[in-house]
């Protein structure tokens, strides 16, 4: 019995509790607010692009507690109001659905994007563990990071396919079928387009890829750190091609316009989530945005230097702006590192937000592709271009570097 008590109350191993802490931070501190912010941004940006105002009323409802007028806060209260509305609606289940898969499908679309985020480094390591090693700001620092991203994001298709199939209805079914073939087609281009990144960095570990980019310049533009080398010039031409293929494939993977054929409103009513209401629908909705955030995180990490920004030091820095560190007492020597670590985390999420804006911006600009155009683009153009790109990058690395 003493052993059991000792086991239960023994402090958790350092690795486990830091991982739990990081998971909680990523989930509840960053992703969930970012998801609802993205939904709000989608409505606001689409309104602005169409010369409208968008939601601008919902704010703090202080008139409920006796004030005269509400505070509108540019409509930011919509972030909270939308999920509450969806939660409070009736969860209507059609009679003919396959109940088990109907229940489980929304969850299956929500989980993979969150799992993908586990391997993405979101900040510099400014904490030091008891063994003297820095704690990496990534939930799971695994060697197969990029493969994990592809493997888990490819599981996201099951939710959509099962939702379409279990709804037992024509249009959702067509949406599910379209989605499965679309995702299989674009996974290939997605995987092949980042092979040059592995060739250059020599690793699949996303933390090490970020480290490589800090030393050698961002992969989208390797000349950024102003060290001239011919191989950097050549890669500066080849890697943007990789990036464009990856970006477009990411649009197809996350089912965003111009590749949102599974949920094409004009042809398929609502696509795979036609028969869903209330929280089931909300999970599909939020899952799409979570996938968008995960995709943006992967793009930022692979091509845009992750949490690094030229000129901003990482968590090992010992100085503060305006020479503030000289007036610090000796017990606060950790403060500069923590400050810059915090800045790094913010840089990462700023980059992710910029990409979310880009996703939204493209959605309200580019019309939807036709299905045969989509397949042709994936199989005939992207696949071949990505393959040739791998050979060219390999040749550059062998002969110029």
């Amino acid at each position: 019995m003493d052993q059991v008590i000792a086991f239960l109350f023994e402090p958790l191993p350092f690795l486990i509790w830091t991982s739990l802490l990081k998971t909680f931070f990523v989930l509840f501190g960053a992703i969930l607010p970012l998801v609802s912010l993205a939904v709000f941004a989608e409505r606001k940006v689409s309104a602005f692009i169409q010369d409208r105002i968008g939601p601008n009323r919902v704010g703090a409802p202080i008139s409920l507690i006796g004030f005269k007028k509400d505070i509108s806060l540019w409509g930011l209260g919509q972030m909270v109001a939308d999920p509450i509305k969806l939660l409070l609606k009736e969860n209507f289940i059609p009679n003919s659905v396959n109940k088990f898969y109907y229940y489980i499908a929304p969850k299956l679309t929500m989980i993979p994007p969150l799992l993908v985020l586990a391997v993405i480094p979101f900040g510099s390591s400014f904490l030091t563990g008891p063994d003297g090693k820095p704690v990496p700001m990534v939930v799971a620092n695994v060697d197969i990071g990029v493969l994990w991203v592809f493997a888990i994001s490819s599981l996201g298709v099951y939710g959509i396919v099962l939702a379409g199939w279990a709804s037992n209805s024509k249009y959702p079914f067509l949406g599910g079928i379209r989605s499965s073939s679309q995702m299989i087609s674009y996974e290939l281009a997605l995987g092949l387009s980042v092979v040059p990144v592995f060739l250059i960095c020599g690793t699949l570990n996303l933390t090490q890829i970020v480290d490589w980019q800090i030393q050698n310049g961002w992969l989208i533009a390797p000349w950024l750190n102003l060290e001239f080398a011919w191989w950097k010039v050549a890669l500066g031409v080849l890697l943007p091609i990789s990036f464009i293929i990856f970006l477009v494939s990411m649009f197809a993977e996350t089912n965003r316009t111009p590749f949102d054929l599974p949920e094409a409103e004009q042809e398929l009513v609502g696509g795979y989530h036609t028969e869903y209401s209330s929280m089931g629908f909300a999970l599909f909705f939020l899952g799409e945005y979570a996938a968008m955030i995960a995709g943006s995180g992967v793009i930022v990490t692979l091509f845009f230097g992750g949490w690094s920004f030229p000129g901003i030091p990482d968590g090992t820095a010992t100085w503060l702006p305006f020479g503030l560190e000289q007036s610090l007492p000796a017990t606060l020597v950790w403060l500069p590192g923590a400050f810059w670590g915090f800045v790094n985390i913010n840089v990462f999420f700023a980059k992710v937000s910029a990409f979310i804006f880009f996703f939204i911006w493209v959605r309200w600009t580019v019309p939807r592709f036709r299905y045969d155009q989509l397949m042709k683009l994936g199989w005939i153009y992207f696949f071949e271009i990505a393959l040739v790109n791998i050979f060219l990058v390999a040749a550059v690395l062998v002969y110029l570097k």
Binding site: A47, F48, D51, W361, W364, T365
Partner: protein, 175 residues
């Protein structure tokens, strides 16, 4: 005979889509910035209204009008009740007593009801009225919390309609 429309030959830049996509992105971004600067076309409804921009022929809620001497124009001929396509109008006529100053006309409405849930704003009542007593005015936001509230009675109709001076004064001695 079928006419085969030749597809236009695309140049390389057009085949790549990307220049066109970028052009579209710049266009939408221009609109985005414009709206961000506050130049969107949206009218903020409950505060800003159409009212002063409505054309004179606007067909809002049907109302009853009085002439400039405060006399009810309606003579309860019930033509509007007859013509109304959704049968929204109900008129209860009443004889005008002989000691009334307007006794030259035989009838006036005792009760005049328009069910605004039924009304389709077609304007046929206005057209058919020989006395020009019923007019479609500019009120368009007719709302209420109950069905009873949506039934406009005589007072409400006169309140909405107000006075419409001298158009037809066939039965008017003052003419």
């Amino acid at each position: 005979m079928a006419i085969v429309v030749q597809r236009p030959k695309l140049s390389l830049a057009e085949k790549l889509y990307l220049p066109a996509v970028l052009g579209g992105l710049f266009l939408t971004f221009k609109h985005f910035l414009r709206s961000l600067g506050g130049k969107s076309v949206t009218m903020q409804y409950p505060e800003q209204r159409w009212d002063d921009k409505l054309p004179p022929w606007y067909r809002g809620a049907p109302t009853l009008v009085k002439d400039e001497w405060g006399r009810e124009r309606c003579v309860s001929c019930q033509l509007c009740e007859f013509i109304c396509p959704p049968r929204a109008i109900t008129i209860t006529p009443e004889e005008i007593p002989t000691n009334d100053p307007w006794a030259k006309v035989e009838k006036r409405p005792k009760e005049f009801e328009i069910d605004m849930i039924r009304c389709i704003y077609c304007g046929l009542c206005e057209e058919v009225c020989p006395e020009q007593a019923i007019y479609l005015r500019k009120d368009y936001a007719i709302t209420g919390y109950s069905r009873a509230e949506m039934k406009h009675n005589k007072e409400k109709l006169y309140e909405l309609g107000g006075v419409m001076p001298g158009v037809v004064n066939k039965w008017n001695e003052n003419k």
